[in-house]
């Protein structure tokens, strides 16, 4: 067995009443890893976290912490701590009492508690806030207290349930950096829940994209972004264009497909597709190139520009071919000599076109 393995989930299943929330979750987490469970609300990510914390018991499957089966253990005996979505700071205790709570339970000497609380607060940059009550803190400060409270006991794994969900955009960005800094500094394994793909791509070592109680894809941010396995992931993470076509021919490392009025090409190896079969291809918005004239030997389609949008320094061009195809191209900057109504030829680098939904259960 891998010695570096800290947490392992094996075939976790869980139902609430009639509804099956988790349908077999397998996950191995290495020491010091930052793993994000990414998915829309209701996909089962919080339930997964609660099972790891011991706040829920799975119907089936096992939870292993450093190789020890903790599936049926109480939450207080697991060396795992949670940062709750609403922070759950004890309202009748001040910051110092909140942060030092787990040490008081362990009967750590008072002097040491004071010292360690001070250190923990320093870590989250809240020195001097010891005597404040939770309702005297801002959202961001509460969040930091919650983190200090969870890391003071040096857990093996820290679980974070949408910790930035209640904060405004700017604070969220700051806290992302801060969290990543903390994680590197402490060397604790983070299991992080979010529905924000940007957050996931920014911070994680690996991302598990969840959908309807299963992991649809588990991989590094670039795996998930550049090589999405399904059209769902392609659109959920970074909102890619989805093109459906029919296979025309296949070479060793690419597949040609027909769609609308043209032929597209996508990189593909290791999978054989029969001719005339359907193929779905994901294409990132930033990977589309638009041409007024069809370049020599190029593969692509003719489309019409429907709309131009400019927001946040990015120009988005909405393209269509009748009702059959709609694409969005995006690029940095305003300069574009194209106007609405123009016919443009769309091309892309075959490497950036990813066939998805090839097999239901990869």
């Amino acid at each position: 067995m891998d010695n570096n393995l800290i947490l392992k989930l094996e075939g976790i299943e869980k139902s609430f009443g009639e509804e099956k929330v988790l349908k077999g979750i397998d996950l191995s987490v290495a020491h010091g890893e930052f793993i994000t469970l990414l998915g829309p609300s209701g996909c089962g990510k919080t339930t997964t976290l609660r099972i790891i914390a011991g706040l829920e018991t799975p119907d089936r499957g096992r939870v292993l912490l450093e190789g020890r089966d903790v599936t049926d253990e109480e939450p207080n005996t697991r060396n795992v701590n949670t940062v709750f979505q609403n922070y759950a700071l004890f309202p009748h205790m001040n910051v110092e009492a909140n942060v030092g709570y787990s040490l008081r339970i362990k009967r750590v000497p008072k002097k040491e508690i004071v010292k360690r609380v001070e250190e923990a607060l320093e870590l989250v940059r809240l020195t001097g806030f010891e005597k404040r009550m939770p309702n005297e803190l801002s959202g961001g400060q509460r969040q930091r207290v919650a983190i200090a409270r969870s890391v003071i006991n040096q857990p093996k794994v820290l679980l974070l349930d949408e910790p930035l969900g209640a904060l405004d955009l700017q604070l969220r960005r700051e806290m992302q950096t801060e969290l990543k800094r903390l994680q590197t500094h402490l060397g604790i394994t983070f299991i992080y829940i979010t529905h924000d793909q940007e957050e996931a791509l920014n911070m994680s070592d690996r991302i598990a994209v969840m959908r309807d109680g299963v992991f649809e894809q588990l991989g590094s941010p670039s795996d998930v972004y550049d090589r999405p396995r399904t059209s769902y992931i392609a659109t959920f993470v970074g909102s890619a264009n989805i093109i459906k076509g029919k296979v025309v021919k296949q070479t060793e490392d690419s597949v040609f497909f027909s769609c609308c009025n043209g032929t597209g090409i996508a990189a593909l190896s290791g999978v054989t597709l029969s001719e005339e079969s359907e193929v779905t291809v994901a294409l990132r918005r930033e990977h589309l190139s638009l041409h007024k004239e069809k370049p020599e030997n190029a593969h692509g389609f003719w489309t019409v520009i429907k709309e131009k949008r400019f927001s946040g320094g990015i120009l988005q061009i909405l393209l269509s071919y009748g009702d059959d195809l709609e694409l969005i191209s995006s690029k940095q900057g305003l300069d574009s000599d194209m106007t609405v109504g123009d016919n443009v030829f769309v091309t892309w680098n075959p490497e950036n076109a990813v066939p998805v939904d090839l097999d239901g259960d990869q």
Binding site: P75, N81, T82, F90, P91, H92, A166
Partner: protein, 268 residues
């Protein structure tokens, strides 16, 4: 337009007068110099002085305080445990239990009194302080139960989960987190119980023994021998004490509302 805004105020005034005038009269006449209640002869504290010299009344007062304290204390413990326990059972059982548990305040007092009388006779208990405490505890439990249950329902369960997550055992989390957070509700339920027990006549009549008198019972029996302004003075004092208790209970109820929900909403 003006009439429309005045009418409710007039109505409110009349209703308030009808409801509270008698109390006001009792209070005023407790300061009456005259022995006959209906004749005003001048201001005096003499009935209050008389009152404090009456040993039987003081004994009854002490009995009442002991009774109300012990009943509200046991109702506080039983009601709180029941409310906490009910959060851990299935919803359907829960509502049935709640219905049964609140029966003592739905059943007419006189019937409850007869029930206790029969029950204690059957058990062969000697009527006196013990039977009074059991009976009073019974009708006080629902007040504590209802208040604590409401408090628990409004409490974010992630507080307890966070405590468990940080290493607290179930009982430890209860004493560290749940109990302090529901304490205002427990206290306000107990104060209400105290007031209820302190005032009770109907049930007490049935379950008291020959030599145990509570204050309301003492007043009730004195009425048979004619009202003296001494009773007015006693009623005034009891009225004030009850008002203070109810206000204290309401104040705790207000504290109750602070800090119950999770901290998220305020940040949004």
């Amino acid at each position: 337009m003006k009439n429309r805004t005045k009418l409710p105020n007039i109505y409110l005034g009349i209703v308030t007068a009808i409801m509270y005038l008698p109390i006001l009269i009792v209070i005023i006449y407790s300061f009456n110099e005259s022995r006959i209640s209906s004749v005003w002869e001048g201001f005096s504290f003499k009935w209050y002085a008389d009152l404090f010299r009456d040993k039987s009344i003081l004994d009854a007062l002490i009995n009442s305080i002991i009774l109300a304290s012990l009943s509200s204390l046991s109702a506080g413990v039983i009601g709180t445990l029941a409310a906490v326990g009910m959060t851990k059972v299935k919803l359907r059982t829960n509502s049935t239990v709640e219905y049964i548990a609140t029966l003592p305040i739905i059943i007419p007092e006189i019937i409850l009194g007869i029930i206790f009388l029969l029950y204690f006779s059957l058990l062969g208990l000697r009527f006196g302080m013990t039977t009074l405490i059991i009976a009073h505890t019974t009708f006080c439990v629902p007040y504590v139960l209802i208040l604590v249950k409401a408090r628990l329902a409004g409490m974010d369960k992630s507080f307890v989960e966070a405590a468990r997550d940080l290493g607290a055992s179930g009982p430890r989390a209860f004493f560290d987190i749940t109990l302090p957070l529901i304490l205002p509700a427990v206290a306000s339920g107990m104060l209400l119980s105290f007031a209820m027990s302190f005032d009770d006549v109907v049930i007490s009549v049935f379950v008291t023994g020959v030599n145990v008198n509570t204050l309301p019972l003492k007043i009730y029996t004195s009425l048979k021998t004619g009202v003296t302004p001494k009773i007015n003075a006693l009623c005034t004092l009891m009225f004030i004490a009850t008002i203070i208790l109810i206000m204290l209970s309401a104040y705790l109820g207000k504290l109750n509302r602070i800090n119950t929900t999770d901290s998220k909403e305020e940040t949004l």
